[in-house]
């Protein structure tokens, strides 16, 4: 699932960011042509955390970081304090039944740091997945980043109800969108099938 991501030719346009534009970033095969600014960000993270973080991809305006659930809080704190990302745009849960894991992806952005205005840092972490979920009371748990990024509050609530990932330390782990009497599987898991499809 770790991405390769050809740079689309649709976005071939002159850039106004400090680094010169790089047409392609083939992360898997030829990693030598990474965009410099984004590379700098990922390098800082690797420098600080070593092998606790894996650089998922580095491409134009996007940096992808993967880390384990034990380290995600520290990494997020570092991203906020030292890299100056100040808000989370979204919290996404992706179900991977093949790996028996659920990935939670935070898309982080920055309003205050003007050089980071174009950037989105993708912070991904994974929680174990259980085939018979009891949301909130099984091992599918992650530390909440709500005390680091306040803006993840509703996003984490949504991930909790949609995928059954309980966030430890979240002050308000309640349903948000689903009906109050929802008693089925968390609906965005892959084993929740839509009727007729």
């Amino acid at each position: 699932m770790s991405s390769d991501s050809e740079n689309p030719a649709t976005e071939a346009k002159p850039e106004e960011k400090p680094t010169p534009p790089k047409p392609a970033a083939k992360a898997e095969e030829k990693p030598e042509e990474l965009p410099a600014f984004e590379k700098g960000i990922s390098d800082k993270l690797v420098e600080k955390f070593g092998d606790k973080v894996q650089v998922d991809f580095v491409k134009e305006d996007r940096v992808g970081i993967k880390t384990s659930k034990e380290n995600v809080h520290d990494v997020a704190q570092f991203i906020r304090d030292d890299l100056h990302y100040d808000h989370a745009e979204s919290v996404t849960g992706v179900d991977f039944p093949a790996d028996n894991e659920i990935e939670v992806v935070y898309h982080l952005g920055s309003y205050t740091e003007s050089s980071l205005a174009r950037q989105v840092l993708t912070l991904a972490t994974r929680a174990p997945r259980e085939s018979n979920p009891i949301p909130g009371q099984d091992s599918t748990k992650l530390p909440s980043l709500r005390d680091v990024f306040y803006s993840v509050e509703f996003g984490e609530r949504e991930v909790f109800e949609m995928l059954g990932v309980y966030f430890d330390g979240h002050p308000d782990n309640r349903r948000l969108l689903l009906p109050e009497d929802w008693a089925d599987l968390p609906p965005l898991r892959k084993d929740f099938a839509i009727k007729g499809r």
């Binding site: 699932m1 991405s3 390769d4 991501s5 050809e6 689309p8 030719a9 649709t10 976005e11 346009k13 002159p14 106004e16 991809f57 305006d61 996007r62 992808g64 100040d86 808000h87 989370a88 745009e89 979204s90 996404t92 992706v94 179900d95 992806v105 898309h107 309003y111 205050t112 205005a117 174009r118 989105v120 993708t122 949301p135 909130g136 990024f149 306040y150 803006s151 993840v152 509050e153 509703f154 996003g155 949504e158 782990n173 309640r174 349903r175 948000l176 969108l177 689903l178 009906p179 109050e180 609906p187 965005l188 929740f192 839509i194 499809r197």
Partner: protein, 378 residues
Amino acid sequence: MTDIMPPGLALKKVDERIMTLNVGPQHPGSGHMRIVVQIDGDYIVACDPDPGYVHRGEEKMAEYRNYITNVPHLERPVIHDSCNVLYPYVLGAEEILGIEVPERAKYVRVICSELNRCIYTMYWLAIYGIFLGHSTMFMWPAGDRELLIDLMEKVSGARVTHAHFIPGGVRNDLPANFEDVCLRQVNYFEKRIKEYAAVFYDNPILISRTRDTGVLTRENAIRYGTTGSVLRASGVDYDLRVKAPYDVYEELDVHTNVLKEGDSYARSKVPWLDMMESCNIIRQALQKMPKSGSVRTKLKPNPKTKGPATVYKRVESGRGSLGCYIVSDGKTEPYRVKMSVPSFRNLLAMPNLLIGEKLGNMPSVYWSLNYWPVEADR
């Protein structure tokens, strides 16, 4: 699930002074959502937004359809902003499918996107007017909106649900003589919305009612992760059309409207200023657009992807930054589509702004957050 009770069902023992109001979903001032409000006298002491009444599972549905058939249903969350709500998905799908978009199609997209922003904002403004009890401000935008809806009907054939943007360009070319008609309508539209100042934005009662209510400071606006007009009304100069331009916005001169106050008056004024800016952008785009050429890269009905990938694309919609995160596993259907919608992000500011306000300020603060319940639920 004992400690995880849904909102409203968890009956806590509260003071006898406190009255709990269920504002919505059948309430003229709530939209398609519920706000559980606790008031002490006239002051709101607790506020718990409860969206989800129009949750349609768009993200789940998107996992079952291929990249082309996802187009018509992914615009449903905000049908009156349907071009913009599709825009990030289309950009992401183009990256995953590896398609190039013709230059003229990019300009058509910009024009449609700006027209749709105005259509959305007029609708929003109409509801803002009636929320404040100003019935003229309900009727005028709802009527003037027709000008632009007619334009979009000429372009796409549908009045509201256009499904005009598709991976590879736009569905069809602009009709003949569109530039003149568009220019005329947009000029008249701009003249009309400038008249709104006299009846609405300069109205002393409106100003005294919305000034200094629901103040969102710059720090809190950033902390809550708000976006769009809410953010710009709090003094943060952040517009994706300028900061991270997509398609041809880079070649256009876009001015960002920023107000410092952060109260509901500023939040209601920024979208209005943005509409005038949209008119400017449309005029520029009409001028710079290539006069002829293809508007669409042909695709097969069930196009193949280029292998596993993740993309996250953002555009500036009528409500703010709208992101689309697509995970592809190489099949013809997306593995996961996540819409990071501005309404959902702005919703977080609502309980924080409403607590401590008067009940009479609830509609103005709530709707000034540029919030569209259907979009937040997806």
